[in-house]
Every structure is written in structure tokens, then in C-alpha cells.
């Protein structure tokens, strides 16, 4: 199979018409690119014999052997139908709680039935030497993790919130972000739209304002603190009271901190509706990565955008700029000037509807069914069906919370802030170190981060 260089495995497959990257374990549903940032399970594949590789973040290389992690025939349509109907006869927590006793049954299950579904095949032996070598000698501490020691201020997430904190920090500083450059999840997208080849943003002043705030921040950070930035790295674990495990490409790094600034942003929220796992449904943060990091081709593709807020308009603007045919279903209120701009630009736009169901349409298209919203007039049983190559669902994101929680910070579910967030803006940990929450990770909306001062109150 041929593809562009300089993209990820998942995008290369997508552009070759292969969206279906994995099967779900229980029902055998098709799964495809979802988060595009190494959080979910949808893109796990077997690459060069190594199982469970996240293909959304793996750069494509010549001669790679990429396989689905299951026996395709097992999940053929008749079997899927059987699983779907038969599944109702079994208890909810069925598939990994049964078949454990007696031993012969367990063997049969583990050796025969489980491999059929593709779950749990070990790496091929020929590839074992390529895995990181075991430490030599008796000292287990020589490899493969590097200790960065104690860092006064450790900032996870170099979006606007993290950069503002970095510029105020004193002492030793380390700023970590999973993007190669500082600026956050919307940086490259805003840069493209506000660049010399960008579209006229007069009708979308918020997108220009966001760039006017973000760009000087990034430039000041790079001038003053650029050497303290480590791009392409992630925090992957927190060990109480102040230990952090970082992953930089394939290197592991450990560090402790005096003050942790948690500004890792938010995760896409797709919502709960029938068919919410259909391949081709993504969130805006995934879209920004796919377009600007991986260079996904959307020329002449029909893209459905559902939702509201800054991300809806940023997604629509960048997709239209890249030559996609956008069709918007705007939920919620406000954003009147953007709505009229979209109408003037000839974008298909509908309001007063809510997403009721999404279905796959063949292998590479989807159909979304909308019903009238609660407040809209008209018969309640009327439906609008829209077909598209893919859809972007722009809802309030879920603040990231996992590492601070592992470090001992309390997290409370606050739907008004998007999900689990810290009730306090700053938390003192048992060892005397602190965690401060900023930006979307603290429950702020991206539009506030983009246009207002960081001290603005959460609505």
C-alpha cells in the first residue's frame, strides 16, 4: 500500500480508505480513529508483530507490517449479529469473568476462543530482541529510565494557560507538552488560519482574537523560557507525593516537583447516543491534530459539524479553508454573528436539532439522524438525516485529571465544568508540594482561554 510520508499509520490507512482499525472486544463493532492523541483503544493494532500499538501516534515508515488484532472472519456480519442478539442472554460482566474454572475449560477458553477474537496474542518471538534491553549487571537502576531530579516548577501542558504560568515561574522550570511545539491543542490550527495564506477572518473575530492572544505568549515563552520546553513528551503516571513519570518518544523520564502546574487541557467528549462508537466520529481536538500534525487530506470531503462554542467555529473554519464541504448543526444558543457569517458563506447550517443516532454508511461514510430539540417547534417525530464522510462533535471537553488524582488531589464530578475537576484551584500534597490547575484542565472554556484574562471566573 502506498501513502504519503510524514504522517501517522492511522491517517495513512484512513487516506487509503481503511478506517476500520480494530474490533471492539465484546460486540465486534468496528472502531476507528477517535482521540488521535494516544488515549483511547480505538486505533490499537499489531505493528511489525508488536501488539497494542497506538497507530494514531505512530509515524508511518516504509515496509511496516500492520495488522488488525483479530481474526477478521470471527467478526463477519453473521457472527456480529449473533453476538449482538446472544449478548442479551448473558450477564453484563460476562466475557472476562467466566471460563476461569475448572482448569481445562479455562485452557480451552484461553487457547482457543480468546485468540479467535484476536485479544491477547503475544509479540512475535522474532521481535523480542527489539524490545528495550534488560539492564546489564546487577544494578537494576541503570536503564532505561532517566531521572531528571527535582524540578521547582513542572508544567504539564503548554497551551495558553501553561505558558502564562511558565512566564511567571521562578527557579528551575520544565514545560512538557505532547505537541512538538508550545502553544497548545489549537496553536497550529489558529496559526494556519491567521497566516499569510489564511482565509479572511473578519467574520470570525474570535478566531483572530484568540491568535492575537496566543501568538505573543508563545513567542515570549520561546524567547525567555524556550530552553525549558520538552515537546513530544507526556506525563504518563503520578506517584504520590510528588513523583512524575514522563515518556519522551520511547524514553522514560522520572522527576519530582515542588509545584506542578496541571494545564493539560481537556479531552474530546462525543456524548451518549446510539452509534457513538461509529468510525468517522471525532472531536475537535482530534481534528486539529489530524489536520495540522498529520496533514490529513480533507479536500472535497463532506464534513458534518455538530455542537457549539469556539471549537465548532474553529473546526468549521479550518475545514473550509482546507477545501472540505462543511455542514453545521448548531446546538445551544449565542454565537449569532458567526451563525450569520456561516450562512453568508454558503455553509449548510441547521439549528434547533439534537443528534439522535449515527450509523455507518458503507465503510467510509456515516449517516447522522437528528430530531427536533426540546425547545424547537414542529412535529416531534420529524427527522433530519445528514450524510457525510466524517463528523466532528464539538461539545464542552472533559478536563484531564488522571495524574493529579494519582498524586492525591481530590477530584469532584462537576458537569458544569465538563466532568471531574479539582474543587480547589491549588492543592497542597502530603509532602509539601503543590498542584495548581489552570486552563481547560481547571474547567475553563477554551473561548475564555482564548480571549479573556486567565483570572476570569468560571461561568
Amino acid at each position: 500500500m502506498e501513502c504519503r510520508a510524514d504522517t501517522t499509520v492511522a491517517v495513512a490507512l484512513w487516506e487509503n480508505g481503511i478506517r476500520h482499525l480494530s474490533h471492539s472486544h465484546k460486540y465486534g463493532n468496528h472502531r476507528g480513529l477517535t482521540c488521535a492523541r494516544g488515549h483511547c483503544t480505538a486505533c490499537l493494532m499489531r505493528v511489525d508483530g508488536i501488539p497494542n500499538v497506538r497507530t494514531c501516534e505512530l509515524p508511518i515508515q516504509d515496509g511496516m507490517k500492520i495488522e488488525k488484532q483479530d481474526a477478521g472472519a470471527f467478526y463477519a456480519p453473521p457472527m456480529q449479529k449473533m453476538l449482538s442478539i446472544g449478548g442479551r442472554l448473558f450477564p453484563v460482566g460476562f466475557y472476562y469473568k467466566w471460563f476461569t474454572k475448572p482448569v481445562p475449560v479455562s485452557r480451552l477458553f484461553l487457547d482457543t476462543i480468546r485468540p479467535l477474537t484476536g485479544v491477547g496474542r503475544l509479540p512475535e518471538k522474532t521481535h523480542l530482541p527489539e524490545l528495550p534491553a534488560a539492564p546489564e549487571g546487577d544494578d537494576p537502576g541503570t536503564a532505561p529510565a532517566t531521572d531528571l531530579g527535582r524540578i521547582d516548577t513542572l508544567i504539564i501542558g503548554a497551551g495558553p494557560a501553561g505558558l502564562e504560568q511558565a512566564l511567571e515561574a521562578s527557579g528551575q522550570l520544565l514545560v512538557v507538552d505532547d505537541h512538538a511545539q508550545p502553544g497548545g491543542q489549537r496553536y497550529l490550527t489558529l496559526k494556519e488560519l491567521n497566516g499569510p495564506d489564511g482565509p479572511n477572518l473578519d467574520r470570525f473575530p474570535v478566531l483572530a482574537a484568540a491568535w492575537r492572544k496566543l501568538d505573543p505568549l508563545v513567542q515570549r515563552f520561546q524567547a525567555e523560557r524556550g530552553t525549558d520546553f520538552r515537546g513530544g513528551a507526556k506525563a504518563i503516571a503520578g506517584y504520590a507525593p510528588s513523583g512524575i513519570l514522563l515518556k519522551d518518544q520511547n524514553t522514560l523520564l522520572t522527576a519530582t516537583f515542588g509545584r506542578l502546574v496541571w494545564s493539560a487541557g481537556a479531552l474530546d467528549t462525543l456524548g451518549l447516543f446510539p452509534g457513538n462508537d461509529t468510525p468517522g466520529l471525532i472531536g475537535p481536538r482530534a481534528l486539529y491534530r489530524l489536520l495540522t500534525r498529520d496533514g490529513m487530506d480533507v479536500q472535497n470531503k463532506r464534513v458534518l459539524l455538530v455542537g457549539s462554542g469556539l471549537d465548532l467555529w474553529l473546526s468549521a473554519a479550518v475545514l473550509a479553508h482546507r477545501g472540505a464541504v462543511v455542514s453545521l448543526v448548531v446546538t445551544g444558543s449565542g454565537w449569532q454573528s458567526e451563525v450569520s457569517a456561516a450562512v453568508d458563506l454558503g455553509w449548510q447550517l441547521t439549528t434547533g436539532l439534537q443528534l439522535a443516532e449515527v450509523k455507518p454508511l458503507g465503510h467510509n461514510r456515516i449517516e447522522a439522524v437528528f430530531t427536533p430539540g426540546r425547545t424547537s417547534p414542529g412535529p416531534a417525530d420529524s427527522q433530519l438525516r445528514l450524510q457525510a464522510d466524517f463528523a466532528v462533535i464539538c461539545q464542552r471537553g472533559k478536563p484531564t485529571y488522571d495524574i493529579p488524582y494519582q498524586l492525591g488531589a481530590d477530584m469532584v464530578n462537576q458537569p458544569a465544568r465538563g466532568g471531574f475537576t479539582s474543587p480547589e484551584p491549588e492543592v497542597e500534597l502530603s509532602g509539601g508540594s503543590t498542584i495548581a490547575f489552570h486552563g481547560e484542565a481547571a474547567g475553563l472554556l477554551p473561548v475564555d482561554m482564548a480571549t479573556l484574562s486567565p483570572t476570569s471566573e468560571i461561568p
Partner: protein
């Protein structure tokens, strides 16, 4: 054509109906629901589902959404080899403070 399912947890293939069924079967705490249905035990450790599950459970129990607490989130967030894991000098989890469920 089978009507598509509403998935609560994509990693472990738990549908919203299954979660509600488990609640009707008597699992009323987030911890026991997690163990029974598998919600939040997958690769993402709940990034995709725990706030939705907490809101759903709060509604089923007629509680405020803030009344449902997080379950444990096991590190690390990325898969790594046993070799890498074994070479890490990290505190013994047994010595870590217990997290309320």
C-alpha cells in the same frame, strides 16, 4: 438492521443499557459497577467514560453528580514493557495512601 448501541465505555465495550442493568441487579457503587461491568478498566482508565458513568449513576440514585467519586486510575497511561517497568525506581504502591472509592 440492528439498532446501534449507545456505548458508555468504548475500551471495555460496555453499553449504557448494560450499566443500567447492572445497577438494577444491585450494583449501586461506582467501585462495584466498575468491577462488574468493566467500565473504566480499559486502556484509557476511564478518560472516555468515568464522568459520563458518574452522571448516569447519580441520576439512577437520585444524587447530585458531585456525590459520585472517582475510582482508582492505574498508572501508567501508556503501555510500556515489563523491562521498562522493572527498571523504574518508584515508590511501593502498598505504601501509598489509600484512595477513597
Amino acid at each position: 438492521m440492528i439498532r446501534p448501541k449507545t456505548f458508555l465505555c468504548r475500551c471495555e465495550d460496555v453499553t449504557l443499557d448494560e450499566f443500567r442493568q447492572a445497577f438494577r441487579e444491585g450494583f449501586s457503587e461506582m467501585e462495584s459497577l466498575k468491577r462488574y461491568t468493566g467500565v473504566g478498566t480499559g486502556f484509557c482508565q476511564g478518560k472516555g467514560c468515568l464522568s459520563e458513568a458518574a452522571c448516569e449513576l447519580a441520576e439512577l440514585r437520585d444524587l447530585g453528580p458531585d456525590q459520585i467519586r472517582l475510582t482508582n486510575i492505574r498508572p501508567p497511561a501508556e503501555s510500556m514493557t515489563f523491562g521498562q517497568l522493572a527498571a523504574l525506581d518508584i515508590p511501593d504502591p502498598a505504601e501509598q495512601p489509600e484512595v477513597e472509592s
